[in-house]
C-alpha cells in the first residue's frame, strides 16, 4: 500500500479510504469531528475552476475543501 498519498493528489471519482490526519491540533480535531476518521471512505467529486478548492464526498454528504486542507488528509486506495 502506498503510504504517502494525500487527498489533494487524488483523481476525481477515485475510491479512497482515509488513513490519517496531519496538521495542527485544532485542525485535526475539526476534521475528526466532521467524520474524517481513519477508515472512512472518501472521494473527490470535482475541482473548482483552476482546480482549487475541491468538492469531496464523505459520509454521504458533499463538502468543499481547499487544496491546502486536503494536504492534511492521508488516504489510500480503497480495495
Amino acid at each position: 500500500m502506498s503510504a504517502d498519498i494525500t487527498l489533494d493528489m487524488a483523481v476525481a471519482r477515485q475510491a479512497l479510504t482515509i488513513t490519517g490526519l496531519t496538521g495542527s491540533q485544532s485542525e485535526k480535531t475539526r476534521f475528526l469531528q466532521m467524520g474524517f476518521t481513519p477508515g472512512t471512505a472518501v472521494q473527490i467529486v470535482r475541482r473548482a475552476p483552476m482546480s482549487d478548492p475541491v468538492e469531496i464526498k464523505v459520509r454521504g454528504t458533499h463538502m468543499m475543501l481547499r487544496l491546502v486542507e486536503c494536504q492534511n488528509i492521508k488516504v489510500a486506495f480503497a480495495e
Binding site: Q33, M34, G39, T40, M50, D52, H62, M64, L65, R66
Partner: protein, 650 residues
C-alpha cells in the same frame, strides 16, 4: 455578564415556571427554521452554513410555563475549534439550559448522530427533533424515528411531513424532558478497553455538574491530552453513529441525485464562472428595471408630501428656518434614501432566493480561487455582491467570515463596492462629460480602480492581522433546496425592516447637520459654513484640480453619497432639470477635472451610515479610522497623481 442579547433572562435560582431550552445541531440542519416555527419569529432561514452567528432567545408561553428557546450556531462537536463552538460552549456554560434539543438532518444523519451521542454523554435532559424528513421521502428514504427513540432512549419529535411543524407535540416533549417524566436513560456508549479502563480509573476525580457529566468531562480531558486517544474516542462515536444511521433508515442514498445533475452544470470548471456572472447580471438587471417605476413613484409622492407639509407648517406660522429644516433638510435626505428602498427590497428578495436554494454556497466554491489570489476568502464574494446593493448590507454580510483577518478585509472591501447611490451620480456625470465609447471606458476604469484598491486593502490588513485561520475554509455543500414563499417573504421583509431601522437615525442626523452647515449664517450660499470649509480646503483641492464647489459636493457626499448631485445643483443654482446641471457643469469644469472628481468620489470616505455600521459590527475604532481616513488619503493621493498625469498627457 449580559453578553447574550435577545431577552434571555439569567436565572440564578431556577424559577420553576421557566424552562431554558438550547437548540443545537450541525450547521444547516434547519435549526432556525424550527426556531421560527415554534416561536413565530422571523429570524433569517437560509441554506447557508454558519449564518446564525448571533444568539437569539425567544420566550413561548405554554400551559402556565414559560419556555425560553435559544437558537445556537451550528456546530459539529463540543470544543473550541471554531468561533461557533466557542460561542455555543460559552452559552452552555453560562446559561446552563435545562433541556438540550438536538436537531438532526434526515439527509445527513451520521454527523448529526455524532453530535447527539456526545450531547447524550454530556447532558441527561436531551431530546431530538428530526428535520427534513420530506426531503428524505422524496428520495424514497424512510427514517424510523421510533427505532432511534428506542435505541438511545431519547424522545424524538419528528418534523411533520409537507406541513409546518406541530409545536404542541414539541412543547409537551420539552416539558416532559424538563420535568424528567420520561424513564431514566440507561444507554451508554461503550469505548474500547483502554479508554474504559481510564474512565474507571478516573471515576471520582470529577463530579457530574450542570456543565456536563463526569464521564464526558473525563473523555474531553483525554481528547485534549492524547492524540491517539482522541482519534479513538471520536472514531468510536462515529462508528456507533454510522451503525445507528444504517439501522434507522430504510435505504442509503445512492445514485445520482437532482443536485448532482444540476451541479454538473453549475459547478462546471469552464461554464460555472460565466453562468455565475449571468445569474448576477440578471439579478441586478431585474432589480433595477422592475423597481424603477416604484422608486420614481415613491420619490414623487414623497416630494409632494414634503411640499404639502411645507405649506402646512408655514400656514401654522412656524418659523421659516424651522420649516426649511424640516422640508429642505430632513424630508429631502429621507426622501432621497427612500427612493432606494424598492430596489433594495427587490434585491433582498432575489438574494434570499439564491441563498435559500443553496446557490450562494456554490458561488463561494467557484470564486474562492480568484478571491484568494487577491488575498480574500471565497466567502468574501457574498459581502461584495450584497455591498453592491448598499455598502451597509455588505458589512453586515461580512459576519459569515469567521477569522478576524477575513472579516476585517470583507468589511473594509465592502465599502468599495459600487452602490446604486454612487452609480447614479457616476452615470449622470460620465454621460454629461464623455461620449458613449469614452463613457464606457471611464466607467470600467473606475470599477477597475476600485477592484485594485480592494486588493491593496487586503494586503494592508495582512500587515496588521496575521492571515491565520486560512484552514477554516472547509464547509458543507448542501443539496439544493426549495424555499417556501413564506420563508422568502419573511426573510425579505425582515432584511428590509432591519435595513430601514438601521439607517434611519443616521440619515436624519446627517441631513440635519448638513442642512445646518449649508443654512447658516443666513445669506448667500458662498458665506455659509459649508462653503467656507470648502474655500478653506481649496488650496489642497487645487492639487487635484478641484474648486471649492466640488469640494463642498464631496463633503455632502460623506453624509449620503446620492446628495452630491443635489448639492452641486444648489451650489451652481441649477434648476430642478438635470439637463441644466449637466450644461452648467460642462461650462465650469474640464473633462480632466470631472474624471479626477469621479475617481475621488468613487473611492473616498464612505458615507456616515457605512462608517457607523463598520463600528457597530467591529466595535473597533481603528477599522473605522482606516475606513474613513485611509480611503480619504488614498483618494487624495490617487487624485493628485491622476490630475497631474492628465495635465501632462492631454
Amino acid at each position: 455578564m449580559p453578553k447574550y442579547q435577545g431577552g434571555l433572562r439569567r436565572v440564578n435560582e431556577p424559577e420553576k415556571n421557566i424552562i431554558q431550552v438550547a437548540i443545537i445541531g450541525n450547521p444547516n440542519v434547519g435549526k432556525s427554521a424550527l426556531f421560527n416555527s415554534i416561536t413565530g419569529a422571523s429570524q433569517i432561514i437560509g441554506n447557508w452554513c454558519g449564518k446564525t452567528t448571533e444568539i437569539c432567545t425567544m420566550a413561548v408561553h405554554y400551559k402556565d410555563r414559560e419556555v425560553h428557546f435559544t437558537d445556537l450556531p451550528g456546530i459539529y462537536g463540543f470544543g473550541s475549534h471554531s468561533s461557533e463552538e466557542v460561542l455555543v460552549n460559552d452559552f452552555l456554560r453560562e446559561a446552563q439550559p435545562t433541556v438540550v434539543v438536538v436537531v438532526l438532518d434526515a439527509m445527513n444523519l451520521e454527523r448529526g448522530l455524532y453530535l447527539l451521542l456526545e450531547t447524550l454523554e454530556r447532558y441527561t435532559q436531551v431530546m431530538v427533533v428530526l428535520n427534513k424528513r420530506d426531503l428524505a421521502q422524496e428520495q424514497d428514504i424512510v427514517i424510523f424515528h421510533d427505532r432511534l427513540e428506542a435505541e438511545l432512549q431519547v424522545p424524538v419529535a419528528p418534523e411533520g411531513l409537507k406541513g409546518r411543524f406541530n409545536p404542541v407535540e414539541l412543547f409537551d416533549t420539552v416539558i416532559g424532558v424538563a420535568d424528567q417524566l420520561a424513564p431514566v436513560r440507561t444507554y451508554t456508549l461503550r469505548y474500547g478497553e483502554k479508554i474504559e479502563r481510564l474512565l474507571t480509573a478516573g471515576k471520582g476525580l470529577l463530579q457530574d455538574s450542570p456543565l456536563g457529566s463526569a464521564r464526558w468531562q473525563l473523555l474531553k480531558q483525554m481528547e485534549s491530552e492524547d492524540d491517539s486517544l482522541q482519534t479513538e474516542i471520536i472514531s468510536s462515536r462515529y462508528n456507533v453513529a454510522e451503525d445507528i444511521a444504517t439501522r434507522i433508515t430504510s435505504r442509503r442514498l445512492t445514485g445520482v441525485t437532482f443536485s448532482d445533475r444540476l451541479d454538473r452544470w453549475v459547478l462546471h470548471p469552464l461554464l460555472g464562472g460565466p453562468l455565475m456572472l449571468m445569474v448576477f447580471a440578471v439579478m441586478f438587471f431585474l432589480t433595477f428595471s422592475v423597481s424603477r417605476p416604484a422608486s420614481e413613484w415613491l420619490a414623487e409622492s414623497f416630494d409632494s408630501l414634503s411640499a404639502a407639509l411645507g405649506v402646512f407648517l408655514t400656514d401654522i406660522r412656524l418659523p421659516v428656518l424651522f420649516v426649511n429644516l424640516i422640508v429642505d433638510g430632513i424630508m429631502k435626505g429621507v426622501g432621497a434614501a427612500l427612493g432606494f428602498l424598492p430596489q433594495m427590497t427587490l434585491f433582498f428578495l432575489f438574494y434570499t432566493l439564491l441563498q435559500d436554494s443553496g446557490y450562494m454556497v456554490r458561488v463561494v466554491f467557484l470564486a474562492d480561487r480568484i478571491m484568494s489570489a487577491m488575498g480574500m476568502n471565497g466567502k468574501t464574494f457574498l459581502p461584495l455582491v450584497l455591498g453592491c446593493s448598499c455598502n451597509v448590507n455588505g458589512i453586515l454580510a461580512s459576519r459569515i467570515l469567521t477569522s478576524r483577518y477575513d472579516r476585517t478585509v470583507a468589511i473594509l472591501v465592502s465599502s468599495y463596492a459600487p452602490c446604486p447611490a454612487r452609480l447614479g451620480v457616476m452615470v449622470f456625470l460620465v454621460s454629461a462629460f464623455f461620449l458613449s465609447t469614452t463613457a464606457t471606458l471611464v466607467m470600467l476604469s473606475m470599477l477597475g480602480i476600485s477592484l485594485a484598491l480592494m486588493i491593496i486593502v487586503a494586503y494592508v490588513v495582512s500587515l496588521f492581522i496575521p492571515r491565520t485561520g486560512e484552514s477554516s475554509f472547509m464547509m458543507e455543500l448542501p443539496p439544493y433546496q426549495k424555499t417556501t414563499l413564506r420563508n422568502l417573504f419573511l426573510a425579505t421583509g425582515r432584511m428590509t425592516l432591519n435595513f430601514v431601522l438601521r439607517i434611519r437615525n443616521v440619515i436624519i442626523a446627517a441631513s440635519i447637520v448638513m442642512w445646518c452647515l449649508s443654512a447658516f449664517p443666513v445669506g448667500p450660499f458662498e458665506q455659509t459654513y459649508i462653503a467656507r470649509i470648502g474655500r478653506f480646503l481649496e488650496p489642497v483641492g487645487s492639487l487635484m484640480g478641484l474648486n471649492w464647489q466640488l469640494i463642498v459636493a464631496l463633503l455632502f457626499g460623506i453624509a449620503a453619497k446620492e446628495s452630491v448631485l443635489s448639492s452641486l445643483g444648489i451650489i451652481y443654482h441649477a434648476s430642478q432639470d438635470s439637463g441644466n446641471l449637466a450644461e452648467i457643469l460642462i461650462h465650469n469644469i474640464s473633462p480632466l477635472t470631472a474624471f479626477t472628481f469621479l475617481l475621488i468620489y468613487m473611492i473616498y470616505t464612505p458615507c456616515v451610515t457605512t462608517l457607523v455600521t463598520m463600528y457597530q459590527e467591529t466595535k473597533d475604532w481603528r477599522i473605522v479610522f482606516y475606513g474613513a481616513v485611509g480611503s480619504f488619503l488614498s483618494a487624495a493621493v490617487l487624485g493628485v497623481i491622476t490630475y497631474h498625469l492628465g495635465l501632462i498627457l492631454f
